[in-house]
């Protein structure tokens, strides 16, 4: 199926439209709130919470005994919040570190959830088929109402973010200062954590417990590489998230036997990889290029100053010297000599080189220049 056909299908086919919209909205909200999680060094909170939500879903089913995704969401939200606050309690009140606390809550809650799930499976009303989909996610089970719910929650969290933008921003970068300014840091902390939990819970049905953390992290980690500005990062992360959702859905829809969740996560992973390598400011590629350029500049300077020291001994500084005498010098290569000539610092005549007046001047002021550049 070609691209145009597919785009056409997205607008006509109900299921595909719902899933595409759903994953796009989900990606956007996750990217938006994930930015905060990443910057607050709470990246793995998402992983812990998504696992901790499982018993809530199971208990919700045990209480109402039918499949109802909004009640499940409520259960997941409650148990996710309990997990979050227990993690905070453990790290605040005991000497256990946050990694231990996260791992504990993650595995203990999930294990309890599995206990409940296996218990439910043995119950007579085998209506529980939907519960399994929360483990690995099934985007195909998304309904229009789910998408509406996601859109509404996204809207609310957007409003909250805009309302508390200044406060959240300052909390993010200097929590102590925020406190001395008289802001209620505890409230702000709980506010943003609660919204992160909500985003995670919303995503469970689509990408599942295990992969939810990547959904939260990947767009934000990718966006982080392109900017140092929080607002730009949040917007970029939302865009990356939405694109991962749409692209992931497209890829999994046009192939048989490809579950949507993992594909979305991998697409988001590709975004991250691309950003890691190609982002102009921080990316590995440009960093390597800068590194190489600096090194060759340095070698050039070394050669130039070596030549300068030789030329200095003559009264006539432009007196030619044999290239051979440079051979023992490490910074010297044919290429660097060529470059020096291009810059008109030296003149090469057969096997001899001689410094030009401008080369002599540059070499004499080499270190002054560096200092000047630093000051600029």
């Amino acid at each position: 199926m070609d691209l145009i056909q597919y785009i056409d299908l997205v607008f006509t086919d109900y299921t595909l439209r719902t899933i595409t919209l759903g994953t796009a909205v989900l990606g956007a909200i996750c990217g938006m709130l994930g930015s905060f999680a990443v910057l607050r060094k709470q990246s793995l909170l998402g992983d812990a919470i998504s696992h901790a939500a499982l018993p809530g879903i199971a208990i919700a089913f045990l209480i109402i005994e039918t499949k109802n995704s909004s009640v499940f969401l409520l259960g997941a939200l409650i148990s996710g919040l309990i997990g979050t606050f227990w993690i905070r309690g453990i790290t605040r009140k005991t000497h256990l570190k946050s990694d231990t606390a996260l791992g504990l809550i993650l595995s203990l809650f999930f294990g309890f959830g599995m206990l409940l799930l296996t218990y439910i499976q043995k119950m007579p009303n085998a209506n529980q088929a939907g519960l399994e989909s929360y483990l690995f996610g099934q985007a195909a089970t998304l309904l229009e109402s789910d998408v509406w719910l996601m859109a509404i929650v996204t809207g609310i969290s957007l409003i909250i973010l805009l309302l508390f933008w200044k406060e959240l921003k300052i909390l993010l970068f200097d929590a102590d200062y925020t406190k001395t300014l008289g802001f209620n840091t505890k409230f702000l902390d709980i506010l943003i954590t609660t919204f992160i939990v909500i985003a995670i819970v919303l995503g469970l049905q689509t990408v599942g417990v295990v992969l939810m953390s990547a959904m939260l992290l990947a767009p934000a980690a990718a966006a982080r590489q392109w900017t140092n500005n929080l607002a730009v990062m949040v917007i970029l992360a939302a865009i990356f998230g939405a694109f991962s959702g749409v692209l992931g859905t497209a890829i999994s829809a046009s192939n048989n036997n490809l579950s949507t969740g993992p594909v979305i996560v991998l697409v988001a992973g590709v975004f991250v990889l691309f950003s890691f390598i190609f982002s102009p400011g921080r990316g590995l590629l440009f960093r390597e290029i800068r590194f190489r350029k600096n090194r060759s500049d340095l070698e050039l300077h070394k050669t130039l100053s070596f030549m300068y020291n030789i030329a200095k001994t003559h009264e006539d500084t432009t007196h030619p010297h044999a290239i051979k005498i440079l051979n023992n010098f490490q910074g010297f290569t044919r290429k660097s000599l060529q470059k020096l000539e291009d810059k008109d610092y030296v003149k090469i005549n057969g096997n001899m080189w001689s410094m030009t007046a401008s080369g002599y001047h540059t070499a004499a002021n080499l270190y002054d220049q560096l200092i000047k550049e630093e000051n600029e």
Binding site: T94, G103, S107, L211, A218, A221
Partner: protein, 387 residues
């Protein structure tokens, strides 16, 4: 108890011990979450191994899976070293990606192979006794018993052989490298053992229980002791008891064994978290309250000392207004001071006693010199009744 039941409990207990040992070190090294990453990211290794051998318990599978576990660690460290993101983000990016690859591999080929994601994630201990290992036609016990037994043996041997090195490199990596013990070797050794244990255990109990068995017993033990040997011993005890209690509660409730083992671990942790003698929640809250009252008492006595000549400043009613304490708190501080013979009250005017004066004087000395040892000493010498 039937034969199969004994075997299940034996496997579960051995898994618990094999996990508790590396788990203790991981918790102490603040790397608990790497187990989470490893247990998920061994999936592609297992799937690829399974496609090659079509046997869930072949050694190749374990090797490939352990290799993908170590690969996770290497990848995480590589990403971290680039400085582009923090360590936790690096972990959170790597393992879902590897796990996704695993799931896609399974779902792409699920039609012709029997490999269930559920089974990989959750394991099924109840079926472990049915997969027997036979040598020359003789049945020598369940396969997973042998696998986990071998891993356990290796772990224990390595633990005894390198206990000193592990201990030093865990608590003081700088000292370890100064002594010529390479912390890097210890680090990767521990990571390899954790990967192998995770792989070996998860065939029997599933990925999530492995995390629980590694972290929960060690974390619980860490709340009870600061001694490495005791911590190891305690975490082994917690692991094994949760395995056995978990098995029987699963038996009674007819649910998944790994789920109920985790739940028991959770209950044990919750209990210790609340009631541990020195580090439990209640004792921490109690201590914090005590310290608050002690500080208030000190403030109060200093206030009295400062206003030795001004009676109005020492009026009982004045406390509420001037030091800005609520009534209940003011009264409890006053009672405490009275009980300790620090003050006497005559006609609602408070006087410092001789003991109170000495105490205040020393307290000021302490505040000025700020030596921690002195204040502990002071509390004993003045026979302070605590709040």
């Amino acid at each position: 108890m039937s034969n199969a039941q004994i075997e299940i409990q034996l496997i579960a207990s051995m898994v618990a011990i094999a996990c508790a040992i590396p788990g203790t070190f991981l918790v102490l090294r603040k790397m608990a979450l790497i187990t989470d990453a490893i247990s998920h990211s061994i999936l592609p290794g297992i799937v690829i191994g399974f496609f090659i051998t079509h046997d869930l318990s072949s050694p190749l599978l374990i090797i490939l899976a352990a290799a993908s576990g170590v690969l996770t660690v290497v990848l995480v460290e590589f990403i971290q070293k680039t400085g582009l993101v923090k360590e936790d983000t690096a972990i959170g990016l790597v393992f879902p990606a590897l796990f996704s690859i695993g799931i896609i591999l399974i779902s792409k080929n699920a039609n012709d192979v029997h490999l269930d994601v559920d089974a990989v994630l959750l394991g099924e201990l109840a079926f472990a006794p049915f997969d027997r290992l036979t040598i020359g036609g003789v049945d020598i016990g369940p396969k997973s018993l042998w696998i986990i037994g071998t891993i356990l043996l290796i772990t224990i041997t390595l633990l005894f052989a390198f206990f000193k090195e592990l201990k030093v490199s865990t608590f003081d990596a700088g000292l370890a490298s100064a002594l010529g013990l390479s912390p890097v070797v210890m680090h990767y050794g521990l990571m390899t053992i954790s990967s192998i244990t995770t792989v070996g255990a998860f065939d029997a109990v599933g990925a999530i229980l492995v995390i629980a068995l590694m972290i929960a017993p060690a974390a619980t033990a860490y709340l009870l002791t600061n001694d490495l040997k005791k911590m190891l011993l305690l975490s082994v005890i917690f692991g094994v008891s949760s395995a056995i209690i978990g098995y029987w509660s699963a038996h009674a409730l007819d649910t998944s064994i790994s789920g109920s083992m985790t739940t028991i671990l959770g209950l044990i942790f919750l209990f210790v978290y609340l009631f541990a003698p020195n580090k439990g929640l209640f004792s921490v809250l109690y201590r914090q309250k005590q310290q608050r009252i002690e500080v208030s008492l000190l403030t109060f006595l200093l206030h009295l000392g400062n206003h030795n000549d001004d009676e109005s400043e020492r009026h009982v009613k004045h406390l509420n207004e001037h030091i800005n304490w609520q009534k209940v708190k003011a009264k409890s501080v006053l009672d405490l001071a009275l009980k300790n013979n620090m003050i006497t009250i005559e006609k609602d005017i408070i006087f410092l006693t001789e003991k109170g004066k000495n105490f205040t004087k020393e307290a000021i000395d302490y505040i000025l010199t700020n030596k921690n040892s002195e204040i502990e000493h002071m509390k004993d010498r003045f026979f302070l009744f605590r709040g």
